[in-house]
């Protein structure tokens, strides 16, 4: 198993009723996704991204060619047990509550009741829907539905995650959270294949990308290599006095190079988040529902996310990551953006001075009415921790189950 996903001249032709060819949705696609990498399928609308993913999973039959997923057929239940799939929209049973939804999927995976229960609670916590866990998902906003969709994709602790436009319908904050989550999962040895037409998302999380157009790969490679301008150098410092700048300029001119000194630009995403936040704040008085205590919630969630994931996934983390040098360096940087050294690393990689703000001072609009949880973020955190400790860490049978599922994964990341 050299690749987690490999397609061999995969082709999908949609024909009309008489069998006449109408569209080449996917055209002789040769795609390789390595283990433990985040691979992005990029392309404009209708470029064959979703069709490719659906063929990988057996939802569509290829007209020609073959798709090998985790060394087998993507429609085989044995393979499916190791895949988490999030379709382009979270298609959920409207009449089930969030908890029942996850329970249903857990049962389809054949998870034992105890393990299932533990994972459901952990996931609900992780996606921040614990407070509305008993509400029918038909009443959920698109963003909340997306979160449940993501939770169901993770309930089997998959080795391979296939995410079809994971951030559609999410606001910038939700988008940021999903991106962080993807990075964290990659850190824990998961392979992630995602499709998107949102370039910023792909750029932030993917190790390698392929750009599709008309069902064909137009370009593919490592994000860093594709984007790096090797004929230029950038030096990033804190604010400097004009004198120092002059000295540096002289030094550089001595090497007879051009030199431009500016304050670096903010990342578009950070700027966007700030703009949207401001717009949201302006809109709020008219909509009436105001709540400003959400920031803490997101911080809490992120931290819980981390701790829960550590336990849920329980895969080798820091020791094993150096095996994937280019991918994981960046991954680590963005994921742990809260800490000092990573900030540096990240800014080095993304050419930005301002450290990414995973959780800006923003309240998420869609959660305003639905998440009373937010008012006690401080109380909740230790409680979550302890529950998880109890459920995951200490109880022997579940622990055993966890390790079982994790073993092959560790092996794979070694192979890769």
């Amino acid at each position: 198993m050299e690749y987690a996903i490999e397609t061999i001249s995969l082709t999908k032709i949609f024909s009309d009723w008489w069998g006449r060819t109408k569209v080449f949705a996917v055209d002789n696609l040769d795609l390789q996704v390595r283990h433990n990498e985040v691979f992005g399928l990029l392309g404009p609308n209708g470029s064959g991204k979703s069709t490719t993913l659906k063929m990988l999973l057996g939802l569509l039959h290829p007209t020609k060619g073959k798709a090998i997923v985790l060394g087998g057929d993507g429609a085989d239940p044995k393979i499916n047990a190791r895949i988490g799939f999030l379709p382009e929209e979270s298609y959920l049973y409207r009449y089930l509550s969030a908890r029942e939804t996850l329970d249903f999927y857990g049962r389809i995976f054949g998870l034992a009741p105890k393990l299932r229960k533990m994972r459901i609670e952990a996931l609900l916590d992780m996606v921040g829907l614990k407070a509305v866990a008993n509400r029918a998902v038909g009443t959920f906003s698109k963003g909340m539905a997306r979160r449940i969709g993501l939770a169901q994709a993770l309930i089997n602790d998959p080795d391979l995650l296939i995410l079809d436009e994971p951030t559609t319908g999410l606001d910038p904050i939700g988008t940021r959270q999903i991106k962080d989550l993807i990075l964290k999962l990659a850190e824990r040895g998961k392979t992630v294949l995602l499709s998107s037409h949102l370039l910023a998302d792909v750029e932030d999380v993917c190790d390698r990308i392929a750009i599709l157009y008309g069902g064909k790969i137009q370009s593919q490679g490592q994000v860093k290599e594709l984007l790096q301008q090797t004929n230029k150098r950038q030096i990033m410092t804190d604010a400097l006095s004009d004198e120092t700048v002059e000295k540096i300029k002289q030094l550089i001119q001595a090497e007879s190079s051009e030199c431009v000194v500016t304050s670096p630009l903010d990342k578009l995403e950070s700027f966007f988040i700030r703009t949207v936040t401001a717009a949201q704040q302006q809109a709020q008085p008219t909509s009436g529902a105001v709540s400003t205590t959400k920031i803490g919630d997101f911080l809490t969630q992120q931290q819980t996310t981390e701790s829960i994931l550590d336990k849920l996934v329980a895969a080798p983390v820091s020791e094993e990551t150096p095996q994937e040098p280019p991918a994981t360096q960046k991954v680590a940087a963005a994921a742990d953006s809260g800490s000092e050294p990573n900030e540096e690393l990240l800014s080095r990689l993304t050419d930005s001075t301002e450290p990414p703000q995973p959780v800006p001072r923003v309240e998420e609009k869609e959660k305003v009415g639905t998440q009373p949880v937010d008012s006690h973020p401080v109380e909740q955190e230790p409680e979550k921790e302890s529950i998880l400790d109890k459920l995951v860490g200490r109880s022997p049978p579940e622990d055993g189950g966890e390790q079982e599922t994790d073993k092959p994964q560790a092996g794979e990341s070694g192979d890769a």
């Binding site: 949609f14 047990a81 379709p87 029942e100 389809i108 054949g110």
Partner: protein, 451 residues
């Protein structure tokens, strides 16, 4: 199995929470007691019970059939339309497991609802005599002719082949064969005439029938009959002398082994009537003879239509019979659930519903449909026998296994009938639909085409 059960419980939740099931349940819960209160039938206790149980069972059966069709189709097509199936089928579950899960869910729901509603009907029927305070004779009549399960013995059409052939030869000799008739048509016409003659009694004539294996459980047995009369007297009334007892005596005048009973009745023509005889008329070997004498003052010939005579005797309890009758409804639902899954494996919701409703109504009138087609077949013989006959044969016969047909006249639903129903309706027709549905569903593309 765990996965199948997960899908099944989800299907049940869907039916209950999407309010499809609830509508039907509320409708039945309201209608059944109302029916119990308002039906009066022909004002006697028996009539009241018959009307109530007839309407109650028919209504329950009809509504549950509709419910089964809708749920089984909706649970699959909505998954595909609303694409929840994308997340379900990409989990470690096989497609047949998904369909089995849906089927199981529908059946569990059906069994639960059918048990509840049939229990309500049963209890209401049992307690009707308590609330209506009928006269003693009405109570006895209800006990004998409703709260019981009576085996029914019919008179098979007489074998007249020999007679017909003789007559044909004779006509041929005399060269008086009807012109323009083929051989088959002539024979069919002659057979019809000969059989009619066997069922007809001229003025003063006696007809004798023999019934085998009569084993009454109670003290009485009943003759259920209908007269046709020609020419029709002004009041349409028929006088008939009925005799019951040892067959050997009635037919050949041998010394009777049983007491012979003799009753004279005056009944209206062209409706069913029942007369009662004591069970003592049945000899030990179970060979019962029944005779009808067309008494001279009728001045008309009396004819019994082909299904116009039955001997009824108690063979089981009402409760046992009622349960078997309800099982007939259940088998019907099993078939419809399988049919619904089959239809939804390749049709969209409205088309699948239409398809199933057509099958349902055709199956409900299968006798009529079969007759019409066989009539048609005279003109399009070859085409018919290779196409329509085959398709019509695949339809189940809901009218043949209609529970009210048995419960209302307190006729026994015997085990062999039940076994036949299971075999044809469930084991062959339902299974065929299910297997076809599984095959189609197994190979179809689940995802919608989006480029």
């Amino acid at each position: 199995m765990r996965r199948i059960w997960a899908v099944a419980t989800n299907t049940i939740k869907q039916a209950l929470r999407m309010k499809i099931g609830v509508v039907f349940m509320v409708l039945l819960l309201v209608l059944l007691p109302v029916l119990g209160m308002t039906t009066t039938g022909d004002e006697t206790l028996k009539g009241r019970l018959q009307t109530f149980v007839s309407y109650g069972l028919s209504l329950t059966s009809f509504l549950l059939c509709l419910l089964t069709i809708i749920i089984s189709i909706y649970s699959v097509t909505s998954d595909i339309d609303q694409r929840q199936i994308y997340t379900v089928i990409t989990k470690p579950i096989r497609r047949f497991q998904l369909l089995f899960g849906k089927l199981l869910g529908v059946l569990v729901l059906d069994i639960a609802l059918l048990s509840v509603f049939s229990t309500i009907i049963f209890v209401l029927a049992i307690y009707t005599p308590v609330f209506t305070r009928p006269s003693e004779s009405e109570l006895i009549e209800a006990d004998n002719e409703f709260f019981t399960a009576r085996a029914a013995l019919n008179v098979p059409p007489a074998d007249v082949t020999e007679e017909v052939m003789d007559r044909y030869e004779k006509l041929k000799e005399l060269d008086r064969l009807p012109p323009g008739y083929t051989y088959e048509q002539t024979i069919a016409e002659l057979t019809k005439q000969a059989q009619l003659a066997k069922r007809a009694a001229g003025v003063g004539d006696m007809l004798v029938w023999e019934f085998n294996n009569v084993k009454p459980l109670s003290n009485s047995l009943f003759i259920r009959f209908k007269y046709d009369i020609f020419p029709n007297p002004p009041d349409s009334q028929v006088y008939g002398e009925w005799l019951a007892g040892d067959w050997q005596f009635l037919k050949y005048g041998q010394r009777p082994k049983t007491p012979i009973y003799d009753q004279i009745h005056k009944n209206a023509a062209r409706t069913f009537h029942e007369i009662e005889f004591p069970a003592g008329v049945v000899p030990e070997d179970g060979r019962l003879g029944i005779a009808f004498v067309n008494v001279p003052y009728n001045n008309s010939a009396v004819i019994f239509p082909p299904d116009g005579l039955e001997v009824l005797y108690k063979a089981d309890t009402f409760a046992g019979n009622f349960i078997r009758a309800v099982l007939l409804i259940l088998f019907r639902l099993v078939f419809l659930a399988c049919l619904g899954l089959f239809a939804s494996s390749f049709l969209s919701f409205p088309v699948a519903i239409l398809f199933c409703l057509v099958v349902f109504f055709t199956a409900s009138f299968s006798g009529f449909v079969n007759d019409s087609f066989s009539l048609l077949s005279h003109n399009v013989g070859v085409f018919y026998s290779y196409t329509i006959q085959w398709i019509v044969g695949l339809l189940p016969q809901f009218d043949k296994y209609n529970p009210t047909k048995f419960i209302v006249p307190a006729k026994l639903v015997n085990w062999s009938l039940l076994a036949r129903c299971v075999f044809f309706m469930v084991c062959i027709k339902a299974l065929l639909a299910l297997i076809l549905g599984l095959i189609i569903f197994r190979y179809r593309e689940i995802a919608r085409i989006t480029v």
